[in-house]
Symmetry: D2
Subunit: 367 residues, 4 copies
């Protein structure tokens, strides 16, 4: 009897497999080529997987780099995107934290929860994860996405939460917070400089305020972005295309330099500026994704008791950030400037790629 | 009556001033020129000063740089030296921790104890101190030395201590420990690499063992120094003139890299080696005094969650190091290879300047 | 010639000594007895002293205990008070951070800056200081006060500061912050409970917000004080005379308990309540001055991974708190409810002793 | 075709289930009653389980408590034991770190790796684990044991390791280290007192030496145990049945008290002793399992800036401890005094229950 039942179940499974459903997704086809096209809807491959129906997603600066061909590990046919919120469609049998119908926040970092790095909280270097979504496996700019190690890579969305706002917690806010603010050891009363007032710099600005620094000085060549920074909590701004940043920082800090300098651009000039404005005992926290090496002036810095940090976001602070959003200590909505339907994703890329002209920070794509 | 007494006292002071005593000291007279000559014996200038009769002193690598003319702040006529132990000869009236006859350890760093930096424990940047001995004011390679801010810049020598050994606590051991071991966050079970097996690297090696790392890999081009490192506790050695350090480190760490890489040389190649062998989440702790800038490969390091630190020694751990010496957890004597009388200081410089040939680590000069 | 000058100077000093000036001060004369009376104006005794003319001072809960006779070290004739701001009247010759005319904040804790405890930042246990003002030496409820170790025990008031507000930085704000918030390790997103909504509990409430906890639950039996707490930033309040605190905390924290429980009363019941509401991994930070021992339920707590801390304020965070006030992250004025002239100090004590009835938090006395 | 295969596989599974094998195990049958008897061999229940064939196990002080009936959650029929090493017999399909034949160390703490507590490294409070082995589910004093959440609750044994020694890493060494040494914040140069020289106190003594304290003072009423402590690295011993501990500690610490006092007994007197001998700024780290509440003398301790911690071991340091054993920084064999065959477990309990008389520390049971 029992074995007959099993045969039936298996037959049903085989039939279902035949009826593979399709979905729409943004697909990379080599440098400069992308399309919104049909792809097979993802399915559970391992018992620790979940399939999530995307509700909202967004575009990251990294996605623009991928589209240019700067990230060679991304191959033709890959679905892009590593941010989003959605609803659980299906879970593997080893998934215990989630079930069909649960609303979830997708982390840009996949964490197995059981390798040495994950046990240390360094999910970015997970031996079976890290940044793989929209990079080494298919991503979130699609109607559905498969999330490996779902129990450790998804976060439950509290009832009543503003789900659109939470898309900012997939990547940009933990990145600004972990790589910039935590690594920069921002403390009450400190003077902090943030070089770069784009979305990542602004994410650092928003989350730096968790620790009540006395001054947050925003540095950028775009006055529009500096004005936004002021409304986000910057106490001072410096336009580095028209002002002498080093002199101005000196005058603002009695010649001492800042306690923390956060690099949120990713080019040699901005990193080197950070090391020029940091004071003795201070911290340079790099967030930017760099394509070139930089000059480190150890001939002066060797005696300055400084700390320089690098970090790929671990998203280990996502549960904490969720609490700060729920308690209104953090308002991620401020970062959203444009909204599109998911099937308008190509148009959304155009807007985001012309961020300065479009005065765009983050765009939301709704499925 | 009372005022007459004062007059007498003052007259006596004036007479004494006339009888200024001389002493012998090692004096810098511009690049390549030094002499052992007569100089006025130092006196109390400020109420927080002490005058110390030198009992033992030593020569630092920095002193060799000064003698070459590499440290332009050091001017003709300056008495060199920033290490030593001695006996209090006289104290200013605001000195309360010490009195005539006390045996003291001289810190290479002068600390006022009351500026912002001193209050944070960053004595190296003391606003009325820092590294000034044998640099901006007369130093310890002399029969007597004036120590400003004596209460915070001298340490009492416990009864029965091996005073010669404690000369190593003036600079080299706190430097190896604070800049290398503490900044490198060495922990039990860690794998540590130290690049440079000279006195400073060996000081880092000795003090790294306070934290019971699993492996300490010593890297140097001199086999003699590597052999010494083995007797000091190195678990592995790599001769970087004959071996491929990066490959060897990979094979020793399952391809992960080390937890902490300590730079104890001060040239671009050794710093860049440290950043090449450190693993994700690891620490590069710079000790070396650098004369040139270095290349920092942020194009790979940006995502490696590493920490790079620089530091001029604060000597804030001197009291703790004294305890470890007293309890036999640390044996500084190991670093002493040669002994001279203080009046043989010129000869001692010759030996120390030819350290590799002479198999010299630290030399002791006894007054 | 020179000696004659000295004679003149000395004569002048002797004359001045004869002309000892008096001042008015609040003097303790045994339990229940105090008077506003003439006392000799303080003078420089040691070269590290300063004499400060009091501009504003206040009354502390501890002063009430002294007046009742609860602090037996305070003897008949002692001038009370350990808080205040003022102007430097005179400094000893070893004082270098301050000069006559400087506006200063007086710390309730005297720090020599050169004993083992001071070097560790534990000024509360300074071997030649600690809490001595208005306790073991004369204090600040007077027209003038002598401050020992002035360089380390006074803080410069920035130009343009609201000096009245800064009186709150002498004791109450660093106490709430160091003993409650820092020791309690308050972090962004945390749930914090503060037991006791008096001035100290409110100081903890104000400074806990430096770290952006998600929830701050204030617990007190007085609804008026709970209402004030709400205006100061409490997100929830519980009246422990009418509500079941343990049950309510459970329901607010999904049964887990709070991350940090801050004890701001000083009696066994409130301490034991803190240990009952703290969750696994949480912190109990005691601020209260206790007169009796308490029961610690180790039979349940041994396995709960909790941390319990005690602390006499060190005022090591005063420079940082000054920065947060200057940058408007902290508004100490909120704590001031009543103002008197210094010569009305007896009346001010009456008001402060009836704090609940008078709806008093802190009173300001202006000289 | 494929479905037929499945039918065959399933039939085989059914047959195998019929052939359930038995094993021998130590079973608790209520207070005072235990027997070595036949029990069904455990099988995989969840896909995250592993079944381990026990190679070596041991008896814990907690097991003695269970046998007396002190741990009411342990019910009649339960297999006791929560320590051991063994070989993987079978793994569930979601287990990826281990496969049949792997040699493993069993942690006394089961960790799911995906609840809030596990993500914070507080495995002791895992929402689907914690201390359950030999407590809420069957344990390790048996020929086989089922280990839930195997990927996070087992550790691979390095090739060539002394497996017997590693049994000490299941519980006693991480307990002494995490609850005593880490929570006690032992640092180089510190003075540490450990109250209780039984196996747990000795585990704290061994692992405290990772941090090179200057002094480790062992306190116990049994001279034999104190003598053992001396051979394990104690620098001083105090017999608290014949000596005045408080006076002796005072004289050993210049009246200051110890930096860290570790409680390794679990009764009020020893905890209260710890709070009496700790100095200002010091740490009391409780390891003991307490059955009664204790008196905390806040009337004196409130101002002493002390930290008191409690902790159920998390075994989060097991990978690090494995490294220290492999690198010979830690020799767990020292703790093993007696060896038995697993089927002699009843006799082993008798020996361990009379530890003082038998001079027993830890016993090893070999299957």
């Amino acid at each position: 009897m029992e074995t007959l039942e099993i045969v039936k179940v298996e037959n049903k499974a085989i039939e279902e497999k035949a009826l593979v459903k399709n979905m729409k997704a943004l697909v990379y086809h080599g440098p400069g080529k992308k399309s919104w096209e049909e792809k097979p809807k993802p399915t559970i491959i391992k018992s620790t997987d979940a399939v999530v129906k995307i509700f909202k997603t967004t575009i990251c600066g990294t996605d623009l780099h991928i589209m240019k061909g700067d990230v060679p590990e991304v191959t033709d046919g890959r679905i892009i995107g590593h941010e989003g919120v959605g609803v659980i469609e299906e879970v593997g049998n080893a998934v215990s934290n989630f079930k069909k119908g649960d609303h979830v926040l997708i982390s840009c970092i996949t964490s197995c929860g059981k390798c040495d790095y994950c046990k240390k909280g360094m999910y970015s270097h997970c031996e079976d994860g890290g940044w793989i979504l929209g990079h080494l496996i298919d991503g979130t700019q699609a109607e559905y996405v498969r999330i490996p190690h779902a129990d450790n890579s998804l976060y439950p969305i509290p009832a009543g939460a503003d789900e659109e706002a939470l898309v900012m917690l997939s990547d940009i806010l933990p990145t600004g917070f972990e790589c910039g603010v935590l690594n920069g050891q921002v403390k009450p009363g400190d003077t902090v400089a943030i070089v770069g007032s784009g979305p990542i710099g602004l994410a650092a600005l928003l989350t730096a305020q968790f620790y009540s620094p006395a001054e947050i000085i925003m540095i950028d060549p775009d006055d529009n972005r500096l004005n936004i920074a002021k409304t986000f909590g910057a106490t001072k701004t410096i336009n580095n295309s028209t002002e002498d940043v080093i002199e101005k920082i000196k005058s603002l800090t009695n010649g001492r330099g800042v306690d923390t300098a956060i690099e949120a651009v990713g080019i040699p000039a901005t990193f080197e500026l950070c090391t020029a404005i940091v004071g003795p005992g201070g911290h340079v926290a790099n967030i930017g994704v760099h394509g070139k090496s930089v000059i480190l002036h150890l001939e002066t810095l060797w005696s300055q008791n400084i700390t320089i940090t690098t970090r790929l976001v671990d998203t280990v602070t996502t549960p904490m950030l969720l609490k700060t959003v729920q308690s209104k200590k953090l308002d991620p909505n401020k970062l959203i400037t444009h909204r599109f339907r998911l099937d308008q994703v190509i148009e959304a890329y155009d807007t985001f790629a012309n961020a300065a002209k479009e005065k765009a920070l983050k765009v939301i794509l709704t499925n």
